[in-house]
């Protein structure tokens, strides 16, 4: 009898274990939703993501369902060509969203998805800040297909749906031991973590107060490419069989320098959020293009301004102290990566230094407001009604001629109606007085005052530099996050580590 060669048995056992493992492999279901809120056109900013996720769908063998976009011909073509293996559940409408959520709930309730099965839900669309007040949603609202913000001042035209239905799915999955992963890659997606349950994995592309970012495709005419330079694009790009959600999150989180704050609901992730998110948030504000949350963050009243600056200075100092403590703890433990804390501190100092300069111009602007008020009181003491209810600088910057013309038109139209014509006439008289006051003040404001106003205007005009400062902080904070996460990584398992693609 031939003796079995020593390596044959292990190979046989290995083959057996693969075959048993395969036979016991549970159901793997993937839902990819989003692509809403985009302006009219053929393409969307989500096209790169469609390609990346399509690659996962086609190669992974996961049972996939897609409800994405609607109304953008090239994006829809991409969905057909790149996601051919997925069931297309139609455009990302409210009805389709609700139907799919109900479908998942039914699968969980009826046991179609059972213990050990995997369910991955991904939301990739435009997102809104969480509402305020007692009726606010737990998560936040996201944009649906066939709806564009037609007027950017009030964003009319956008249709949205809240993500609170995910809570029922989370509870059912936890109860039935179905492995659940939810990815929300929209703006303000950190609100997803309000649904935290320690039996499911939740990942967001940003914090509750930050935008998230997409990488647009670059067309070279004959070739279009989209290099993954943001958290979301890198995450989707890395989605390969065998990788865990935790691994994907950590590997993608250090990508790029966009001012975001991707989150994960593992113990380690939640602890880091608790420690640094609140401190870091103000430094992720910037002025750039139509975004002005850097300058808009300042109060507009001189008497409250110093109070605010004092709070900012104190918070800055506390954050630096915390980072210094972490750095010293790392030094005692003889760990590498101390320079990450130093670099973040330097980036924060650089941002704060810029803020201090900007604050000085605001401080001077408030001085000018005092000067204007003094002129009002001294020169127009009997016309208090014409100036006392207004912010002085805004009063001077108003185009009163257009208001005068407007109300003269109303007075002319209503001249037969005694009450209204009298009211419009009084309005025109007051506006004319205000114009006289405004012109007088502008002509008599000191040169020093005018220079101060000019300095603030220039500071605002140049404040786009805050994007760069904020990006540097974000890049350094991502390195600190990674160092802290890896240092504190528990040996225990967690739902994000257990969720292997």
């Amino acid at each position: 009898m031939k003796a079995t060669k020593p390596f044959v048995l292990p190979i046989f056992l290995l083959c057996l274990s693969f075959s048993v493992g395969h036979a016991a492999e549970g159901s793997k279901q993937f839902y990819f939703l989003g692509g809403g809120g985009e302006p009219e056109g053929e393409t969307t900013i989500f096209d790169g993501e469609v390609k990346r996720v399509g690659s996962f769908i086609n190669s992974s063998g996961w049972n996939s369902t897609v409800s994405f976009n609607g109304g953008h011909s090239k994006t829809e073509d991409l969905i057909k060509s790149k996601m051919g293996k997925a069931k297309n559940a139609g455009t990302f409408s409210e009805k389709n969203y609700n139907d799919l959520m109900n479908e998942i709930i039914q699968k969980l309730e009826k046991g179609e998805l059972k213990s050990g099965d995997q369910l991955l839900i991904s939301i990739d669309t435009h997102g809104a800040k969480r509402s305020a007040g007692k009726d606010a949603e737990k998560t936040h609202r996201v944009a649906l297909a066939h709806s564009t913000a037609t007027e950017l001042n009030n964003l009319s035209g956008a249709r949205t749906v809240d993500l609170d239905k995910l809570e029922k799915i989370i509870n059912l999955a936890a109860e039935k031991n179905v492995k659940l992963g939810i990815l929300d890659f929209s703006c303000y997606s950190g609100n997803l973590l309000n649904l935290h349950n320690d039996k499911v994995c939740l990942i967001s592309a940003s914090g509750p107060e930050q935008y998230s970012y997409a990488t647009t495709a670059v067309s070279l005419g004959f070739f279009t490419f989209s290099y993954p330079i943001t958290f979301g694009s890198k995450f989707f790009d890395n989605m390969k069989k065998g990788k865990s959600l935790e691994e994907l999150f950590i590997d993608s989180r250090t990508t790029g320098d966009t001012p975001d704050f991707p989150m994960i609901n593992t113990k380690e992730g939640l602890a880091i959020n608790e420690m640094m998110y609140r401190f870091l948030t103000p430094y992720l504000n910037y002025n750039y293009s139509s975004t002005n949350n850097f300058s808009a963050g300042y109060v507009r009243r001189g008497d409250k301004f110093e109070e605010q600056v004092c709070r900012m200075e104190s918070s800055h100092s506390d954050f630096l102290k915390l980072l210094k403590q972490m750095e010293e703890a790392a030094a005692v433990a003889n760990e590498s990566g101390r320079e990450e804390f130093q670099n973040l501190r330097e980036a924060l100092e650089e941002y704060r230094k810029y803020q201090r300069g900007y604050e000085e111009t605001l401080r001077q602007k408030f001085d000018v407001e005092k000067e204007i008020k003094d002129i009002f009181k001294k020169q127009f003491p009997n016309d208090q009604k014409a100036w006392e209810a207004y912010a002085p600088l805004d009063f001077l910057s108003l185009n009163l001629d257009s208001s005068i013309t407007y109300y003269e038109g109303l007075a002319e139209r209503d001249k037969g109606k005694k009450y209204f014509s009298g009211m419009w006439d009084s309005t025109v008289a007051q506006l004319k007085k205000q114009k006289e006051i405004s012109e007088y003040v502008k002509a008599n404001l000191s040169q020093n005052g005018l220079d101060k106003l000019k300095a603030q205007d220039e500071a605002f005009a140049k404040s786009g530099v805050t994007y760069k400062l904020s990006s540097r902080i974000s890049a350094e904070a991502k390195k600190v996050y990674e160092a802290l996460y890896n240092k504190n990584k528990s040996a225990e398992s967690n739902p994000c580590r257990d969720f292997v693609l």
């Binding site: 900013i45 949350n293 009604k385 009211m423």
Partner: protein, 120 residues
């Protein structure tokens, strides 16, 4: 390498923020309104599903707010009567200033209570 980033823009918040009579901070826009008693209304979240409409009921308030007709503005004012759904009245605006619309911020337009007062 060419690097292009696009912000994922935010969308308006759908919230009712009237929590009883009081002094509020208003962020919205003054518009001519044929149906309003004095033909002028202050609109908050104009054009959205949660627009709030505040009528001006005092002639002096119409005159005071006139420089800001059709301009995004903000101020403090009183609400002394309970609102009827999304409709209400505002009185005695003060600290009136311009508002710089921020399409990225949900708090760009809305009302925020500063202090409570008894309803009349």
């Amino acid at each position: 390498m060419m690097k292009i980033l696009l912000l994922l823009i935010s969308f308006p918040v759908f919230a009712q923020d009237f929590t009883g009579c009081g002094e509020y901070k208003f962020k919205g826009i003054l518009k001519y309104d044929e149906k309003a008693p004095l033909k002028m209304s202050y609109l908050v979240r104009e054009g959205t599903g949660s627009q709030m409409t505040f009528s001006l009921v005092n002639k002096s308030d119409v005159i005071t707010l006139a420089p800001f007709i059709d301009k995004p503005s903000q101020f403090k004012a009183k609400i002394v009567k309970l609102m009827d759904g999304t409709k209400g009245e505002l009185r005695t605006p003060m600290e009136i200033g311009l508002r710089f619309p921020d399409p990225m911020s949900a708090s760009d337009t809305g009302i925020e209570k500063i202090k409570s007062v008894k309803c009349q």
